[in-house]
Symmetry: C2
Subunit: 208 residues, 2 copies
């Protein structure tokens, strides 16, 4: 149903807009649009305006570059968080993912991507200088590198490690291993191999 014409150009336009979103084809777009037609005018107006306002008014935190309603995000301005630990992530989504674990009470630093020569992304395109400045000036004691476990992630990790070394801060990275709840036979060999190399004292698993 790629080039079909609907009986209404308004409908056609709305479907076209929805179908541009990732993972949404024209059939799903049609379903969503017909759903909106059944909603009240006010509801639909709120929907449209929330998207427009988001894009227009959204700010990025001046410290960590996370998404924010103000110059400094809620995490950076939260005084109850541990300001000596910074977790370096690729993007905003990773901040949300880590926040959802409720296991981290430090601050973040959003790089805005990872070094990827194939995509033309070099260190200069990322928020690396601002990270180094934070480490130099803000009394940071530990930097956690929480990037993807891909080749690009490893490259970026290594680059950051070299840049951070002179500041004599503790540099850590996420533990890699078999996922909790996974059956061993489905774990991939590289992960399993690393898990064996980096095996931990069984008693450590008690204090969850």
């Amino acid at each position: 149903m790629s080039q079909q014409q609907f009986s209404s150009s308004l409908l056609e336009d709305a479907i076209h807009q929805f179908a541009k979103l990732p993972g949404i084809g024209r059939k799903t777009a049609l379903r969503l649009v017909l759903h909106l037609l059944k909603e009240s005018e006010e509801e639909v107006e709120n929907f449209g305006n929330s998207i427009i306002r988001l894009r227009k008014e959204i700010l990025y935190c001046k410290i960590c570059h996370n998404i924010s309603d103000s110059d400094i995000c809620d995490i950076c301005s939260n005084l109850s968080r541990d300001r000596s630990v910074v977790c370096v992530v690729e993007n905003i989504k990773d901040v949300i993912t880590i926040e959802n674990t409720q296991q981290f009470r430090g601050l973040y630093h959003v790089l805005g991507g990872i070094i990827s020569p194939m995509d033309g992304v070099g260190p200069k395109d990322l928020e690396i200088d601002s990270l180094l400045q934070r480490v130099e000036n803000d009394g940071i004691k530990e930097v956690i590198l929480a990037l993807s476990t891909t080749m690009e992630g490893d490259t970026t990790n290594f680059y950051l490690y070299r840049k951070l070394e002179p500041f004599h801060v503790k540099i850590t990275t996420l533990a890699r291993g078999v996922s909790i709840g996974d059956e061993l036979e489905y774990a991939d060999e590289i992960t399993l191999g690393r898990s064996i190399q980096n095996r931990i004292e069984f008693s450590q698993t008690f204090n969850k």
Copy 2:
């Protein structure tokens, strides 16, 4: 991730709005919203406005009740279509589905639902009177009942049949049978049983 707070209320709001759409959960909503943040301000404004405009400005065809940009839809105003045949469907989506087959060149009549006592939908809630008026006044020779093959669909078909009988028009319904491309063993027994009862001359299958 049901009750979680994001670092931005604008973000939270946009995610909340997307997650109200059918089949879209909070995780997908987040993905869509983050995608929009990467688009240009103009693109996002077009998206939001296309939704708002659709809901505000959409009209329904005064003849067939299909969605339309004007009082009379493109199908009803298209003089090259066969004005003596009317295909009765439940909703706008069915018009689009049938149009996509490119096998029908007549007009439509959108009922706006089917008779369903369980959901409190009676004949008075549907565009039945306007259908009878069209049949009486517009020189219609055949009415095709193209409703769902459910109990409610059958009830509505029968109700319409009784109402249309006095007008002495030809009343037809969609052929039921085994889907093209289906293996027999996966066809349900009722459909297959009907297919055997209503078997057709093999020579009819030639003129596709």
